[in-house]
Amino acid sequence: MTRRLALLLLVLAPAIPWSQAQLDRHAGRYRAQEEVLYLWSGQQVKRLFPGFEGVGADLYWLRTVQYFGGERLFARAKRFELLRPLIDITTTLDPRLEIAYRYGAVFLSEGPPVGAGRPLEGIEVLAEGARRLPHSWRLRQDLGFFHYLFLSDAARAAAILDEAAALPGAPFWLRTLAADLLARGGNRADARQMWKQMFDQAEEGILKENARLRLRILDSQDRADYLTALVAQLGRRVGRRPDRLDELRTAGLWRGPLKDSEGVRFGYDASSGRVSISRESPLWRPE
């Protein structure tokens, strides 16, 4: 009997990794999980964790991060349907978890394929965070930034940044930035300063990487604008718009690469003379 049992184990034990390998081969090594959320209300979930809300929030935050990463990297549809309820549950369980508001807002606001492309919801999350943590200048700063960067609402952004500047511990430049936004109505330099601040404040990770990408987009947009101006200059000189961007080199107006910060060649519309980030580039974003 014992010998038979040992034989059975000997045969079946290697079958476990073998069957897993077969499963991976057919379903793909990395695959998005079919995510299901049984409880959608933070208050409902809170009732399930009496006295353990903190650790519940940690678990839901881990699930939020894993869900976002899974959808972003492996899902085909990238709908991020559960992102908002997961963030809401996390912050209801632990209203002081500042990071959930800040990262959650980025996950929701960034456009596809990076995020869910729902900036209004991202701003709602930050506004809720600012209401629950009235002394957090960082949440108000982000709320102001997002109003400008995603909704182009410079006046509202300036007002919120002014509020943030009045909070204890807030850096002095927030008030300057608010004044600049109000005076100029916002421009690319303001956007650059905001992303630079987010880059400097973030530790290595998704938030920093996103800010780095945004700065590279702004660099490339600056270069594209400069090349557009050179195209116009060449047009005035020879009496017609160039057919190809390389003519700038031939005319001696530009010696550098005709590529964006990711090394992808700029797009050029000969009919309008406009140079822009190519749709093939990871830096391309819908306007």
Binding site: R47, G51, F52, G54, V55, D58, L62, Q66, Y103
Partner: protein, 255 residues
């Protein structure tokens, strides 16, 4: 006093031989150590997650130990009939009951100490400061566990089986963790008479009083005054429940 200490020492020796105790402590330490892994996945929340998991493990597994060992302390002696020769000795029922309580309290103290050490080791292993503020959350957890043990012993004395006593104890602990819901009951059910709400809120053990985990995980100080009042609350409540248990134990007919 010496007789109470003898019973307590025997109870301690007896409880540390329980297999369920080792299982629960093992899982508590495993849960604390899992903070090492989970923290890595959390984006900058590793320290908070380690603290949250460690303190939650102490609270959860401490409660389980208190319930499952607590209900067996008296009922097992009755079921095994080992109580009769004990009571035939120069040992009063009161000394036996309080000695049993003290023995399990000491067991919980040792276990909680072990889990606290596990939490500090995990923090140090990840290069974090061994935050002494954590003790401001561990101490109230210990006080809450004393109350759980008191209830477990009371229910094991008055009920006919250990299973029933476990259900009553767990029910009381869960109800005690929902005291905020009871307090605000009239907001969702305005028809409930206020005296009933106030009465329930006053009578039920408020286990929320012993919960400082979130505050400590965020590094907020816990005032000595608050801890002193929590101690008073626990002392009064534990004394009342132990006295009820003792009264029930004294009046019980073991024939």
């Amino acid at each position: 006093m010496i007789r109470i200490l003898s019973v307590a020492a025997n109870t301690f020796r007896e409880t540390v031989r329980e297999r369920v105790l080792y299982n629960l402590v093992f899982f508590a330490l495993l849960m604390t150590l899992s903070g090492l892994l989970l923290g890595q996945l959390s984006i900058r929340q590793d320290e908070k997650i380690i603290k949250d998991l460690g303190l939650a493990a102490m609270d959860l597994f401490g409660t389980l130990i208190a319930v499952f060992i607590g209900v067996g302390l008296v009922s097992k002696e009755i079921e095994r009939r080992s109580l009769y020769p004990l009571l035939a000795k120069p040992l009063t029922r009161g000394e036996f009951f309080i000695g049993k309580f003290a023995g399990l309290v000491f067991t919980l103290f040792v276990n909680l100490g072990l889990m606290t050490a596990g939490l500090y080791v995990t923090l140090v292993a990840t290069g974090r400061r061994p935050d002494p503020l954590l003790l401001a959350a561990v101490y109230p957890i210990f006080l809450g566990l004393l109350l759980v043990v008191a209830f477990a012993m009371l229910f094991s004395t008055v009920s006919s089986s250990s299973a029933l006593a476990s259900v009553f104890t767990v029910g009381t602990v869960v109800a005690g963790r929902f005291t905020d819901v009871i307090r605000n009951m009239r907001e969702v059910a305005p028809g409930v008479p206020p005296w009933l709400v106030d009465g329930l809120y006053a009578i039920l053990p408020n286990f929320r009083n012993f919960d400082f985990k979130d505050r400590v995980a965020y590094g907020d100080p816990v005032g000595a005054g608050v801890l002193a009042w929590v101690t008073v609350y626990a002392a009064v409540y534990v004394t009342v429940v132990v006295a009820l248990g003792l009264a029930a134990f004294r009046s019980r007919d073991f024939q």
